[in-house]
Amino acid sequence: MIQNIIINGLINGSVYALLAIGFSLVFGVARIVNIAHTAFYMLAAYFIYIGFHYFGMSPYVAMPISIMAVGLLAILCYKIFIKPIREHEAAVLIATIALAMVIQESLLIGFGGHYLGVPPLVSGYATIVGVKVTNQHILALVVALLSLLGVRFFLMKTRLGLALRATAQDREVANLMGMNESMVAMLTMGISVMLAALSGAIVVPLFVLDPHMWMHPLTMMLAIVVLGGLGSIKGSFVGAYILAFAEVLVVFLIPMGAYLKGSVALSIMILVLLIRPEGLFGVAFEEER
Protein backbone atom coordinates (compact mmCIF):
# COMPACT_ATOMS: atom_id res chain seq x y z
CA MET A 1 0.00 0.00 0.00
CA ILE A 2 2.86 2.36 0.85
CA GLN A 3 4.25 2.02 -2.67
CA ASN A 4 0.80 2.67 -4.16
CA ILE A 5 0.52 5.81 -2.11
CA ILE A 6 3.94 7.05 -3.14
CA ILE A 7 3.59 6.25 -6.85
CA ASN A 8 0.05 7.61 -7.16
CA GLY A 9 0.93 10.64 -5.08
CA LEU A 10 3.92 11.44 -7.26
CA ILE A 11 2.04 10.98 -10.55
CA ASN A 12 -1.08 12.86 -9.45
CA GLY A 13 1.11 15.54 -7.96
CA SER A 14 3.07 16.00 -11.17
CA VAL A 15 -0.07 16.14 -13.28
CA TYR A 16 -1.73 18.59 -10.91
CA ALA A 17 1.47 20.65 -10.88
CA LEU A 18 1.43 20.91 -14.68
CA LEU A 19 -2.24 21.89 -14.64
CA ALA A 20 -1.86 24.36 -11.80
CA ILE A 21 1.22 26.02 -13.27
CA GLY A 22 -0.61 26.62 -16.55
CA PHE A 23 -3.61 28.04 -14.71
CA SER A 24 -1.38 30.19 -12.52
CA LEU A 25 0.51 31.51 -15.56
CA VAL A 26 -2.55 32.65 -17.42
CA PHE A 27 -3.98 34.19 -14.28
CA GLY A 28 -0.75 35.97 -13.45
CA VAL A 29 -0.09 37.28 -16.94
CA ALA A 30 -3.51 37.93 -18.40
CA ARG A 31 -5.69 38.07 -15.23
CA ILE A 32 -7.99 35.46 -16.75
CA VAL A 33 -9.49 32.83 -14.45
CA ASN A 34 -9.74 30.07 -16.99
CA ILE A 35 -12.32 27.59 -15.72
CA ALA A 36 -12.06 25.79 -19.08
CA HIS A 37 -8.42 24.91 -18.33
CA THR A 38 -9.13 21.32 -17.35
CA ALA A 39 -11.71 21.03 -20.12
CA PHE A 40 -8.85 21.52 -22.56
CA TYR A 41 -6.94 18.84 -20.67
CA MET A 42 -9.86 16.49 -21.29
CA LEU A 43 -10.10 17.58 -24.92
CA ALA A 44 -6.45 16.66 -25.51
CA ALA A 45 -7.06 13.21 -24.02
CA TYR A 46 -10.01 12.72 -26.37
CA PHE A 47 -8.02 13.95 -29.38
CA ILE A 48 -5.41 11.29 -28.63
CA TYR A 49 -8.17 8.70 -28.37
CA ILE A 50 -9.55 9.82 -31.76
CA GLY A 51 -6.12 9.77 -33.38
CA PHE A 52 -5.42 6.34 -31.99
CA HIS A 53 -8.75 4.62 -32.64
CA TYR A 54 -10.12 6.37 -35.74
CA PHE A 55 -7.01 7.26 -37.70
CA GLY A 56 -4.79 4.44 -36.52
CA MET A 57 -1.98 6.80 -35.52
CA SER A 58 0.66 5.58 -33.16
CA PRO A 59 0.23 7.33 -29.78
CA TYR A 60 3.69 8.87 -30.20
CA VAL A 61 2.36 10.74 -33.26
CA ALA A 62 -1.11 11.40 -31.91
CA MET A 63 0.16 13.05 -28.73
CA PRO A 64 2.19 15.94 -30.20
CA ILE A 65 -0.47 16.56 -32.84
CA SER A 66 -3.29 16.76 -30.33
CA ILE A 67 -1.27 18.98 -28.00
CA MET A 68 -0.64 21.43 -30.84
CA ALA A 69 -4.25 21.22 -31.99
CA VAL A 70 -5.60 21.97 -28.53
CA GLY A 71 -3.17 24.86 -28.13
CA LEU A 72 -4.28 26.40 -31.43
CA LEU A 73 -7.92 25.85 -30.53
CA ALA A 74 -7.38 27.63 -27.22
CA ILE A 75 -5.79 30.62 -28.95
CA LEU A 76 -8.73 30.71 -31.35
CA CYS A 77 -11.25 30.58 -28.49
CA TYR A 78 -9.31 33.32 -26.70
CA LYS A 79 -9.37 35.51 -29.83
CA ILE A 80 -13.08 35.05 -30.47
CA PHE A 81 -14.70 34.80 -27.05
CA ILE A 82 -12.43 36.13 -24.33
CA LYS A 83 -10.43 39.00 -25.80
CA PRO A 84 -13.43 41.25 -26.63
CA ILE A 85 -14.72 41.07 -23.03
CA ARG A 86 -11.47 41.04 -21.10
CA GLU A 87 -12.27 44.19 -19.11
CA HIS A 88 -15.39 42.59 -17.60
CA GLU A 89 -13.97 40.15 -15.06
CA ALA A 90 -17.26 38.41 -14.33
CA ALA A 91 -18.07 38.08 -18.02
CA VAL A 92 -14.72 36.38 -18.66
CA LEU A 93 -15.46 33.88 -15.90
CA ILE A 94 -18.84 33.06 -17.40
CA ALA A 95 -17.36 32.83 -20.87
CA THR A 96 -14.79 30.27 -19.74
CA ILE A 97 -17.45 28.28 -17.86
CA ALA A 98 -19.60 28.29 -20.99
CA LEU A 99 -16.58 27.25 -23.05
CA ALA A 100 -15.97 24.31 -20.72
CA MET A 101 -19.64 23.34 -21.06
CA VAL A 102 -19.41 23.55 -24.84
CA ILE A 103 -16.42 21.19 -24.80
CA GLN A 104 -18.09 18.79 -22.37
CA GLU A 105 -21.35 18.70 -24.31
CA SER A 106 -19.63 18.30 -27.69
CA LEU A 107 -17.75 15.29 -26.33
CA LEU A 108 -20.96 13.94 -24.82
CA ILE A 109 -22.64 14.19 -28.23
CA GLY A 110 -19.67 12.71 -30.04
CA PHE A 111 -18.86 9.83 -27.71
CA GLY A 112 -21.75 9.48 -25.29
CA GLY A 113 -21.10 9.07 -21.58
CA HIS A 114 -19.13 5.84 -22.06
CA TYR A 115 -15.84 5.14 -20.39
CA LEU A 116 -13.10 4.97 -22.99
CA GLY A 117 -9.46 4.08 -22.76
CA VAL A 118 -6.19 4.14 -24.64
CA PRO A 119 -3.83 1.17 -24.20
CA PRO A 120 -0.55 1.82 -22.40
CA LEU A 121 2.42 2.91 -24.48
CA VAL A 122 4.80 0.48 -22.83
CA SER A 123 3.92 -2.83 -21.25
CA GLY A 124 5.50 -4.80 -18.44
CA TYR A 125 6.64 -3.69 -15.06
CA ALA A 126 9.82 -2.99 -13.21
CA THR A 127 10.69 -3.98 -9.67
CA ILE A 128 11.90 -1.13 -7.50
CA VAL A 129 12.96 -1.99 -3.94
CA GLY A 130 10.92 -5.14 -4.08
CA VAL A 131 7.80 -3.39 -5.37
CA LYS A 132 6.20 -3.95 -8.77
CA VAL A 133 5.55 -0.73 -10.69
CA THR A 134 4.23 -0.77 -14.24
CA ASN A 135 6.49 0.80 -16.81
CA GLN A 136 3.65 3.05 -17.90
CA HIS A 137 3.52 4.67 -14.48
CA ILE A 138 7.28 5.21 -14.51
CA LEU A 139 7.08 6.72 -18.00
CA ALA A 140 4.27 9.06 -16.93
CA LEU A 141 6.23 10.18 -13.90
CA VAL A 142 9.42 10.80 -15.91
CA VAL A 143 7.59 12.74 -18.63
CA ALA A 144 5.77 14.83 -16.06
CA LEU A 145 8.96 15.68 -14.18
CA LEU A 146 10.80 16.48 -17.43
CA SER A 147 7.96 18.78 -18.54
CA LEU A 148 8.08 20.56 -15.19
CA LEU A 149 11.83 21.09 -15.65
CA GLY A 150 11.16 22.30 -19.21
CA VAL A 151 8.61 24.83 -17.95
CA ARG A 152 11.09 26.14 -15.41
CA PHE A 153 13.77 26.45 -18.08
CA PHE A 154 11.35 28.22 -20.41
CA LEU A 155 10.28 30.73 -17.77
CA MET A 156 13.72 31.45 -16.39
CA LYS A 157 16.06 31.29 -19.38
CA THR A 158 14.19 32.36 -22.53
CA ARG A 159 13.25 35.85 -23.67
CA LEU A 160 9.57 34.94 -23.97
CA GLY A 161 9.65 33.54 -20.44
CA LEU A 162 11.15 36.80 -19.24
CA ALA A 163 8.37 38.72 -21.00
CA LEU A 164 5.78 36.50 -19.33
CA ARG A 165 7.22 37.04 -15.87
CA ALA A 166 7.56 40.76 -16.45
CA THR A 167 3.95 41.07 -17.60
CA ALA A 168 2.81 39.06 -14.60
CA GLN A 169 4.62 41.47 -12.29
CA ASP A 170 3.26 44.65 -13.79
CA ARG A 171 1.21 44.79 -16.95
CA GLU A 172 1.45 48.49 -17.56
CA VAL A 173 5.17 48.81 -17.04
CA ALA A 174 5.78 45.75 -19.21
CA ASN A 175 3.72 47.41 -21.90
CA LEU A 176 5.76 50.61 -21.56
CA MET A 177 8.96 48.57 -21.90
CA GLY A 178 7.84 47.54 -25.37
CA MET A 179 6.23 44.19 -24.72
CA ASN A 180 3.08 43.72 -26.69
CA GLU A 181 0.75 42.99 -23.77
CA SER A 182 -2.15 41.52 -25.74
CA MET A 183 0.27 39.37 -27.76
CA VAL A 184 1.88 38.09 -24.55
CA ALA A 185 -1.55 37.36 -23.11
CA MET A 186 -2.53 35.38 -26.20
CA LEU A 187 0.70 33.40 -26.19
CA THR A 188 0.33 32.71 -22.47
CA MET A 189 -3.14 31.37 -23.09
CA GLY A 190 -1.74 29.06 -25.77
CA ILE A 191 1.19 27.91 -23.64
CA SER A 192 -0.87 27.31 -20.53
CA VAL A 193 -3.45 25.29 -22.42
CA MET A 194 -0.69 23.31 -24.10
CA LEU A 195 0.61 22.44 -20.63
CA ALA A 196 -2.89 21.26 -19.75
CA ALA A 197 -2.97 19.24 -22.96
CA LEU A 198 0.40 17.75 -22.11
CA SER A 199 -0.87 16.58 -18.74
CA GLY A 200 -3.89 15.16 -20.55
CA ALA A 201 -1.53 13.23 -22.80
CA ILE A 202 0.37 11.94 -19.77
CA VAL A 203 -2.70 10.59 -18.00
CA VAL A 204 -4.46 9.22 -21.05
CA PRO A 205 -3.06 5.67 -20.78
CA LEU A 206 -3.60 5.59 -16.99
CA PHE A 207 -7.12 6.94 -16.55
CA VAL A 208 -10.45 6.19 -18.18
CA LEU A 209 -11.92 8.94 -20.33
CA ASP A 210 -15.41 10.28 -19.83
CA PRO A 211 -16.89 13.70 -20.59
CA HIS A 212 -17.04 14.66 -16.90
CA MET A 213 -13.42 13.88 -16.12
CA TRP A 214 -12.54 17.60 -16.03
CA MET A 215 -14.52 18.36 -12.88
CA HIS A 216 -12.34 16.71 -10.27
CA PRO A 217 -9.00 18.05 -11.59
CA LEU A 218 -10.64 21.48 -11.75
CA THR A 219 -11.46 21.53 -8.04
CA MET A 220 -8.04 20.12 -7.17
CA MET A 221 -6.32 22.66 -9.40
CA LEU A 222 -8.22 25.57 -7.89
CA ALA A 223 -7.39 24.34 -4.39
CA ILE A 224 -3.73 24.05 -5.37
CA VAL A 225 -3.37 27.51 -6.85
CA VAL A 226 -5.08 29.10 -3.86
CA LEU A 227 -2.96 27.03 -1.45
CA GLY A 228 0.25 27.95 -3.23
CA GLY A 229 -0.67 31.57 -3.77
CA LEU A 230 -2.33 32.66 -7.00
CA GLY A 231 0.15 33.49 -9.71
CA SER A 232 3.09 31.88 -7.91
CA ILE A 233 4.70 29.10 -9.95
CA LYS A 234 6.70 27.72 -7.03
CA GLY A 235 3.57 27.74 -4.89
CA SER A 236 1.62 25.76 -7.50
CA PHE A 237 4.43 23.20 -7.64
CA VAL A 238 4.65 22.65 -3.88
CA GLY A 239 0.88 22.88 -3.38
CA ALA A 240 0.27 20.26 -6.07
CA TYR A 241 2.39 17.65 -4.27
CA ILE A 242 0.94 18.48 -0.85
CA LEU A 243 -2.64 18.13 -2.01
CA ALA A 244 -1.97 15.12 -4.23
CA PHE A 245 -0.44 13.21 -1.33
CA ALA A 246 -3.27 14.32 0.96
CA GLU A 247 -5.77 13.07 -1.61
CA VAL A 248 -4.08 9.71 -2.09
CA LEU A 249 -3.66 9.18 1.66
CA VAL A 250 -7.34 9.88 2.21
CA VAL A 251 -8.37 7.49 -0.55
CA PHE A 252 -6.20 4.67 0.76
CA LEU A 253 -6.51 5.08 4.52
CA ILE A 254 -10.01 6.34 5.35
CA PRO A 255 -13.15 4.27 4.76
CA MET A 256 -15.45 6.02 2.25
CA GLY A 257 -12.33 8.03 1.44
CA ALA A 258 -13.03 8.20 -2.29
CA TYR A 259 -15.99 10.47 -1.54
CA LEU A 260 -13.98 12.64 0.81
CA LYS A 261 -10.87 13.21 -1.28
CA GLY A 262 -12.06 16.53 -2.70
CA SER A 263 -13.36 17.64 0.71
CA VAL A 264 -10.05 17.03 2.45
CA ALA A 265 -8.00 18.86 -0.18
CA LEU A 266 -10.34 21.84 -0.10
CA SER A 267 -10.44 21.87 3.72
CA ILE A 268 -6.64 22.05 3.74
CA MET A 269 -6.90 24.97 1.32
CA ILE A 270 -9.37 26.83 3.55
CA LEU A 271 -7.27 26.19 6.67
CA VAL A 272 -4.19 27.58 4.95
CA LEU A 273 -6.16 30.60 3.81
CA LEU A 274 -7.34 31.23 7.38
CA ILE A 275 -3.83 31.08 8.79
CA ARG A 276 -2.00 32.63 5.84
CA PRO A 277 -4.48 34.34 3.50
CA GLU A 278 -1.88 34.97 0.79
CA GLY A 279 -1.19 31.24 0.36
CA LEU A 280 2.10 29.44 0.95
CA PHE A 281 4.14 31.50 -1.49
CA GLY A 282 1.83 34.45 -1.91
CA VAL A 283 3.22 37.03 -4.27
CA ALA A 284 2.68 40.65 -5.12
CA PHE A 285 -1.11 40.89 -5.33
CA GLU A 286 -1.49 42.22 -1.79
CA GLU A 287 -4.09 44.78 -2.77
CA GLU A 288 -6.06 42.47 -5.03
CA ARG A 289 -6.95 39.86 -2.50
Partner: protein
Amino acid sequence: MGVIGFYFRKAHTLFRKEVLVLPSRIVVFVFMISLLLLPVFTQDPYLLRILILTNIFAILAASWDLLSGFTGQMNFGHALFFGVAAYCTGILNLRLDMPPYVSIPLGAMGAVLAGLVVGIPCLRLRGTYLALTTLSFPIILLGLVFAIPDVTGGELGISGIDRLSSSRLGDFYITSVLMLGLGFIMWKITDSNTGIILHAIREDEVAVRASGINTTRYKLLAFCLSGFFAGIAGGLYAHVMRTAGPSTLEVALSFQIVIWAVFGGMVSIYGPVAGVFILFPLLEFLRFLPKVRMLAFAVIVLVTLLYMPQGLAPWLRDKVEKECPRCKIRNVALRKSCRVCTADLD
Protein backbone atom coordinates in the same frame (compact mmCIF):
# COMPACT_ATOMS: atom_id res chain seq x y z
CA MET B 1 -66.24 55.05 1.28
CA GLY B 2 -64.31 58.29 1.29
CA VAL B 3 -61.25 56.64 2.81
CA ILE B 4 -61.26 53.88 0.22
CA GLY B 5 -61.69 56.43 -2.54
CA PHE B 6 -58.76 58.42 -1.15
CA TYR B 7 -56.44 55.43 -1.12
CA PHE B 8 -57.68 54.35 -4.53
CA ARG B 9 -56.92 57.80 -5.97
CA LYS B 10 -53.54 57.82 -4.23
CA ALA B 11 -52.66 54.41 -5.66
CA HIS B 12 -53.82 55.54 -9.07
CA THR B 13 -51.63 58.67 -8.97
CA LEU B 14 -48.68 56.65 -7.72
CA PHE B 15 -49.20 54.15 -10.51
CA ARG B 16 -49.46 56.86 -13.18
CA LYS B 17 -46.50 58.92 -11.92
CA GLU B 18 -44.12 56.16 -10.86
CA VAL B 19 -44.86 53.15 -13.00
CA LEU B 20 -46.18 54.40 -16.31
CA VAL B 21 -43.34 56.91 -16.83
CA LEU B 22 -40.65 54.34 -17.54
CA PRO B 23 -40.82 51.50 -20.07
CA SER B 24 -38.81 49.17 -17.81
CA ARG B 25 -41.32 49.59 -14.97
CA ILE B 26 -44.22 49.00 -17.36
CA VAL B 27 -42.53 45.81 -18.49
CA VAL B 28 -42.10 44.65 -14.89
CA PHE B 29 -45.74 45.49 -14.13
CA VAL B 30 -47.04 43.65 -17.21
CA PHE B 31 -44.81 40.71 -16.32
CA MET B 32 -46.22 40.51 -12.77
CA ILE B 33 -49.82 40.71 -13.96
CA SER B 34 -49.37 38.17 -16.73
CA LEU B 35 -47.55 35.74 -14.42
CA LEU B 36 -50.40 35.89 -11.91
CA LEU B 37 -53.13 35.68 -14.56
CA LEU B 38 -51.52 32.89 -16.57
CA PRO B 39 -53.48 30.00 -14.98
CA VAL B 40 -56.72 31.64 -16.16
CA PHE B 41 -55.73 30.84 -19.73
CA THR B 42 -53.88 27.57 -19.42
CA GLN B 43 -53.45 25.02 -16.69
CA ASP B 44 -51.14 22.72 -18.60
CA PRO B 45 -49.35 20.82 -15.78
CA TYR B 46 -46.06 20.69 -17.68
CA LEU B 47 -46.01 24.45 -18.24
CA LEU B 48 -46.96 25.10 -14.62
CA ARG B 49 -44.19 22.82 -13.40
CA ILE B 50 -41.61 24.66 -15.52
CA LEU B 51 -42.84 27.98 -14.19
CA ILE B 52 -42.75 26.77 -10.58
CA LEU B 53 -39.10 25.80 -10.97
CA THR B 54 -38.41 29.04 -12.83
CA ASN B 55 -39.83 31.00 -9.90
CA ILE B 56 -37.67 29.11 -7.41
CA PHE B 57 -34.51 29.61 -9.42
CA ALA B 58 -35.39 33.27 -9.96
CA ILE B 59 -35.33 33.77 -6.17
CA LEU B 60 -32.01 31.95 -6.06
CA ALA B 61 -30.41 34.00 -8.84
CA ALA B 62 -31.66 37.27 -7.34
CA SER B 63 -30.21 36.32 -3.96
CA TRP B 64 -26.87 35.68 -5.67
CA ASP B 65 -27.07 39.14 -7.15
CA LEU B 66 -27.65 40.64 -3.70
CA LEU B 67 -24.37 39.17 -2.45
CA SER B 68 -22.14 39.04 -5.50
CA GLY B 69 -23.58 41.76 -7.67
CA PHE B 70 -24.25 44.45 -5.09
CA THR B 71 -21.65 43.69 -2.45
CA GLY B 72 -19.07 42.46 -4.95
CA GLN B 73 -18.36 39.30 -2.91
CA MET B 74 -17.98 36.91 -5.86
CA ASN B 75 -19.70 33.77 -4.59
CA PHE B 76 -19.10 30.75 -6.78
CA GLY B 77 -20.62 28.33 -4.31
CA HIS B 78 -24.11 29.70 -4.02
CA ALA B 79 -25.49 26.17 -4.33
CA LEU B 80 -24.29 25.71 -0.73
CA PHE B 81 -27.15 27.82 0.65
CA PHE B 82 -29.63 26.14 -1.67
CA GLY B 83 -28.46 22.64 -0.79
CA VAL B 84 -28.18 23.22 2.96
CA ALA B 85 -31.70 24.63 3.05
CA ALA B 86 -33.07 21.80 0.90
CA TYR B 87 -31.52 19.15 3.15
CA CYS B 88 -32.54 20.95 6.37
CA THR B 89 -36.10 21.37 5.14
CA GLY B 90 -36.26 17.77 4.02
CA ILE B 91 -34.93 16.37 7.30
CA LEU B 92 -37.17 18.63 9.40
CA ASN B 93 -40.19 17.66 7.36
CA LEU B 94 -39.52 13.93 7.32
CA ARG B 95 -38.09 13.31 10.78
CA LEU B 96 -40.03 15.90 12.77
CA ASP B 97 -43.20 16.03 10.62
CA MET B 98 -43.13 19.78 10.30
CA PRO B 99 -45.50 21.31 7.74
CA PRO B 100 -43.93 23.28 4.85
CA TYR B 101 -44.71 26.70 6.33
CA VAL B 102 -42.54 25.83 9.36
CA SER B 103 -39.85 23.74 7.70
CA ILE B 104 -39.06 26.20 4.90
CA PRO B 105 -38.27 29.17 7.18
CA LEU B 106 -36.30 26.89 9.52
CA GLY B 107 -34.40 25.50 6.52
CA ALA B 108 -33.68 29.04 5.44
CA MET B 109 -32.32 29.72 8.93
CA GLY B 110 -30.00 26.76 8.36
CA ALA B 111 -28.82 28.47 5.20
CA VAL B 112 -28.24 31.68 7.19
CA LEU B 113 -26.02 29.69 9.56
CA ALA B 114 -24.19 28.34 6.52
CA GLY B 115 -23.84 31.93 5.36
CA LEU B 116 -22.18 32.80 8.69
CA VAL B 117 -19.87 29.79 8.53
CA VAL B 118 -18.83 30.67 4.97
CA GLY B 119 -18.81 34.39 5.55
CA ILE B 120 -16.42 34.47 8.50
CA PRO B 121 -13.40 32.92 6.71
CA CYS B 122 -14.29 34.77 3.52
CA LEU B 123 -14.21 38.20 5.14
CA ARG B 124 -10.45 38.34 4.73
CA LEU B 125 -10.50 37.37 1.07
CA ARG B 126 -11.32 39.27 -2.06
CA GLY B 127 -11.77 38.79 -5.78
CA THR B 128 -10.52 35.56 -7.26
CA TYR B 129 -9.41 34.10 -3.90
CA LEU B 130 -12.93 34.60 -2.60
CA ALA B 131 -14.50 33.07 -5.71
CA LEU B 132 -12.36 29.96 -5.46
CA THR B 133 -12.83 29.57 -1.69
CA THR B 134 -16.59 29.86 -1.88
CA LEU B 135 -16.57 27.40 -4.77
CA SER B 136 -14.99 24.82 -2.49
CA PHE B 137 -17.56 24.86 0.34
CA PRO B 138 -20.37 23.00 -1.47
CA ILE B 139 -17.85 20.43 -2.71
CA ILE B 140 -16.67 19.80 0.86
CA LEU B 141 -20.25 19.41 2.01
CA LEU B 142 -21.04 17.13 -0.93
CA GLY B 143 -18.20 14.84 0.16
CA LEU B 144 -19.70 14.73 3.67
CA VAL B 145 -23.16 14.01 2.26
CA PHE B 146 -21.80 10.98 0.44
CA ALA B 147 -19.74 9.87 3.43
CA ILE B 148 -22.69 9.72 5.89
CA PRO B 149 -25.51 8.10 3.90
CA ASP B 150 -27.48 7.27 7.09
CA VAL B 151 -28.51 10.88 7.63
CA THR B 152 -28.45 12.28 4.11
CA GLY B 153 -29.46 9.31 2.00
CA GLY B 154 -26.16 9.32 0.10
CA GLU B 155 -26.45 9.53 -3.66
CA LEU B 156 -30.22 9.09 -3.67
CA GLY B 157 -30.89 11.93 -1.25
CA ILE B 158 -33.93 12.30 0.98
CA SER B 159 -37.20 11.46 -0.70
CA GLY B 160 -40.83 11.42 0.32
CA ILE B 161 -40.99 15.02 1.51
CA ASP B 162 -44.51 16.48 1.77
CA ARG B 163 -45.97 18.41 -1.13
CA LEU B 164 -45.87 22.19 -0.87
CA SER B 165 -49.65 22.40 -1.31
CA SER B 166 -52.41 20.04 -2.36
CA SER B 167 -52.45 21.02 -6.05
CA ARG B 168 -50.02 22.13 -8.69
CA LEU B 169 -51.92 25.38 -9.11
CA GLY B 170 -51.42 26.04 -5.41
CA ASP B 171 -47.68 25.42 -5.79
CA PHE B 172 -47.63 27.81 -8.71
CA TYR B 173 -49.31 30.61 -6.79
CA ILE B 174 -47.20 30.10 -3.67
CA THR B 175 -43.94 30.22 -5.61
CA SER B 176 -45.07 33.09 -7.85
CA VAL B 177 -46.20 35.29 -4.98
CA LEU B 178 -43.07 34.46 -2.99
CA MET B 179 -40.86 35.18 -6.00
CA LEU B 180 -42.50 38.55 -6.67
CA GLY B 181 -42.62 39.43 -2.96
CA LEU B 182 -39.07 38.40 -2.14
CA GLY B 183 -37.80 39.99 -5.36
CA PHE B 184 -39.49 43.23 -4.33
CA ILE B 185 -38.00 43.00 -0.82
CA MET B 186 -34.52 42.38 -2.24
CA TRP B 187 -34.92 45.31 -4.62
CA LYS B 188 -36.01 47.50 -1.70
CA ILE B 189 -33.02 46.32 0.36
CA THR B 190 -30.64 47.34 -2.40
CA ASP B 191 -32.38 50.70 -2.56
CA SER B 192 -32.14 51.35 1.20
CA ASN B 193 -29.27 52.83 3.19
CA THR B 194 -27.89 49.36 3.83
CA GLY B 195 -28.03 48.66 0.11
CA ILE B 196 -26.09 51.82 -0.65
CA ILE B 197 -23.41 50.80 1.86
CA LEU B 198 -23.23 47.34 0.25
CA HIS B 199 -22.89 48.97 -3.15
CA ALA B 200 -20.14 51.23 -1.83
CA ILE B 201 -18.24 48.20 -0.44
CA ARG B 202 -18.17 46.79 -3.94
CA GLU B 203 -16.80 50.00 -5.40
CA ASP B 204 -14.13 50.75 -2.81
CA GLU B 205 -13.99 48.94 0.50
CA VAL B 206 -11.14 51.00 1.91
CA ALA B 207 -13.01 54.24 1.30
CA VAL B 208 -16.10 52.85 3.05
CA ARG B 209 -14.04 51.80 6.03
CA ALA B 210 -12.43 55.24 6.08
CA SER B 211 -15.93 56.73 6.33
CA GLY B 212 -16.37 55.02 9.68
CA ILE B 213 -18.50 52.11 8.51
CA ASN B 214 -17.85 48.64 9.88
CA THR B 215 -17.55 46.85 6.53
CA THR B 216 -17.06 43.46 8.20
CA ARG B 217 -20.50 43.66 9.73
CA TYR B 218 -22.11 44.66 6.45
CA LYS B 219 -20.37 41.93 4.49
CA LEU B 220 -21.53 39.33 7.01
CA LEU B 221 -25.01 40.83 6.79
CA ALA B 222 -24.91 40.45 3.01
CA PHE B 223 -23.85 36.80 3.35
CA CYS B 224 -26.68 36.11 5.80
CA LEU B 225 -29.37 37.95 3.82
CA SER B 226 -28.36 36.26 0.62
CA GLY B 227 -28.24 32.93 2.42
CA PHE B 228 -31.74 33.49 3.79
CA PHE B 229 -33.31 34.20 0.39
CA ALA B 230 -31.40 31.37 -1.29
CA GLY B 231 -32.47 29.15 1.61
CA ILE B 232 -36.13 29.89 0.99
CA ALA B 233 -35.58 28.91 -2.63
CA GLY B 234 -33.91 25.68 -1.46
CA GLY B 235 -36.75 24.84 0.91
CA LEU B 236 -39.35 25.47 -1.79
CA TYR B 237 -37.37 23.26 -4.16
CA ALA B 238 -37.27 20.41 -1.64
CA HIS B 239 -41.04 20.59 -1.17
CA VAL B 240 -41.85 20.94 -4.86
CA MET B 241 -39.55 18.17 -6.07
CA ARG B 242 -40.30 16.14 -2.89
CA THR B 243 -36.64 15.11 -2.75
CA ALA B 244 -33.44 16.77 -1.59
CA GLY B 245 -30.52 15.15 -3.34
CA PRO B 246 -26.84 15.82 -3.99
CA SER B 247 -27.75 17.66 -7.20
CA THR B 248 -28.71 20.68 -5.05
CA LEU B 249 -25.07 21.07 -3.99
CA GLU B 250 -23.34 20.42 -7.30
CA VAL B 251 -20.75 22.73 -8.82
CA ALA B 252 -22.86 22.73 -11.98
CA LEU B 253 -25.72 24.39 -10.09
CA SER B 254 -23.41 27.08 -8.71
CA PHE B 255 -22.18 27.79 -12.22
CA GLN B 256 -25.73 27.78 -13.52
CA ILE B 257 -26.73 30.47 -11.00
CA VAL B 258 -23.82 32.66 -12.06
CA ILE B 259 -24.66 32.16 -15.72
CA TRP B 260 -28.31 33.13 -15.19
CA ALA B 261 -27.39 36.21 -13.22
CA VAL B 262 -24.64 37.46 -15.50
CA PHE B 263 -26.68 36.73 -18.60
CA GLY B 264 -29.63 38.69 -17.21
CA GLY B 265 -27.45 41.49 -15.92
CA MET B 266 -25.76 41.82 -12.55
CA VAL B 267 -26.37 44.57 -9.97
CA SER B 268 -30.04 44.96 -10.72
CA ILE B 269 -32.07 42.14 -8.99
CA TYR B 270 -34.53 42.19 -11.90
CA GLY B 271 -31.71 41.23 -14.28
CA PRO B 272 -31.11 37.76 -12.77
CA VAL B 273 -34.89 37.21 -12.55
CA ALA B 274 -35.16 38.05 -16.26
CA GLY B 275 -32.17 35.81 -16.96
CA VAL B 276 -33.83 32.83 -15.28
CA PHE B 277 -37.18 33.50 -16.93
CA ILE B 278 -35.49 33.48 -20.35
CA LEU B 279 -32.87 30.77 -19.96
CA PHE B 280 -34.62 28.18 -17.81
CA PRO B 281 -37.76 27.73 -19.97
CA LEU B 282 -35.54 27.92 -23.04
CA LEU B 283 -33.56 24.98 -21.71
CA GLU B 284 -36.79 23.08 -21.09
CA PHE B 285 -38.19 23.79 -24.53
CA LEU B 286 -34.95 22.67 -26.13
CA ARG B 287 -35.80 19.27 -24.69
CA PHE B 288 -36.95 18.06 -28.11
CA LEU B 289 -33.27 18.16 -29.08
CA PRO B 290 -32.01 16.35 -25.99
CA LYS B 291 -28.46 15.94 -27.21
CA VAL B 292 -27.62 19.49 -28.20
CA ARG B 293 -29.62 21.31 -25.56
CA MET B 294 -26.80 22.10 -23.14
CA LEU B 295 -24.54 22.89 -26.08
CA ALA B 296 -27.06 25.33 -27.49
CA PHE B 297 -27.44 26.84 -24.02
CA ALA B 298 -23.71 27.41 -23.63
CA VAL B 299 -23.39 28.84 -27.14
CA ILE B 300 -26.26 31.26 -26.54
CA VAL B 301 -24.57 32.45 -23.35
CA LEU B 302 -21.21 32.89 -25.11
CA VAL B 303 -22.69 34.86 -28.00
CA THR B 304 -24.79 37.04 -25.70
CA LEU B 305 -21.72 37.90 -23.66
CA LEU B 306 -19.85 38.94 -26.79
CA TYR B 307 -22.46 41.53 -27.73
CA MET B 308 -23.70 42.63 -24.30
CA PRO B 309 -21.08 41.94 -21.65
CA GLN B 310 -23.18 43.83 -19.07
CA GLY B 311 -26.03 41.39 -19.45
CA LEU B 312 -29.36 41.45 -21.20
CA ALA B 313 -31.56 43.57 -18.93
CA PRO B 314 -29.20 46.59 -18.52
CA TRP B 315 -28.45 46.49 -22.25
CA LEU B 316 -32.14 46.62 -23.15
CA ARG B 317 -32.82 49.25 -20.48
CA ASP B 318 -30.09 51.51 -21.82
CA LYS B 319 -31.69 51.26 -25.25
CA VAL B 320 -35.06 52.62 -24.11
CA GLU B 321 -34.09 54.87 -21.23
CA LYS B 322 -31.42 57.37 -20.44
CA GLU B 323 -30.15 58.87 -17.22
CA CYS B 324 -30.52 62.58 -16.53
CA PRO B 325 -27.03 64.05 -16.32
CA ARG B 326 -28.01 66.43 -13.52
CA CYS B 327 -30.27 64.53 -11.13
CA LYS B 328 -29.46 60.91 -12.15
CA ILE B 329 -33.13 60.01 -12.58
CA ARG B 330 -34.00 57.73 -15.47
CA ASN B 331 -36.13 59.00 -18.37
CA VAL B 332 -37.67 57.57 -21.50
CA ALA B 333 -35.18 57.84 -24.34
CA LEU B 334 -37.72 59.82 -26.38
CA ARG B 335 -37.81 62.78 -23.98
CA LYS B 336 -35.79 65.90 -24.67
CA SER B 337 -35.72 67.11 -21.06
CA CYS B 338 -35.66 65.40 -17.68
CA ARG B 339 -39.09 64.64 -16.19
CA VAL B 340 -38.07 65.90 -12.75
CA CYS B 341 -35.50 68.67 -13.06
CA THR B 342 -36.16 69.66 -16.70
CA ALA B 343 -32.45 69.60 -17.52
CA ASP B 344 -31.61 68.87 -21.14
CA LEU B 345 -30.97 65.22 -21.76
CA ASP B 346 -27.91 64.29 -23.85
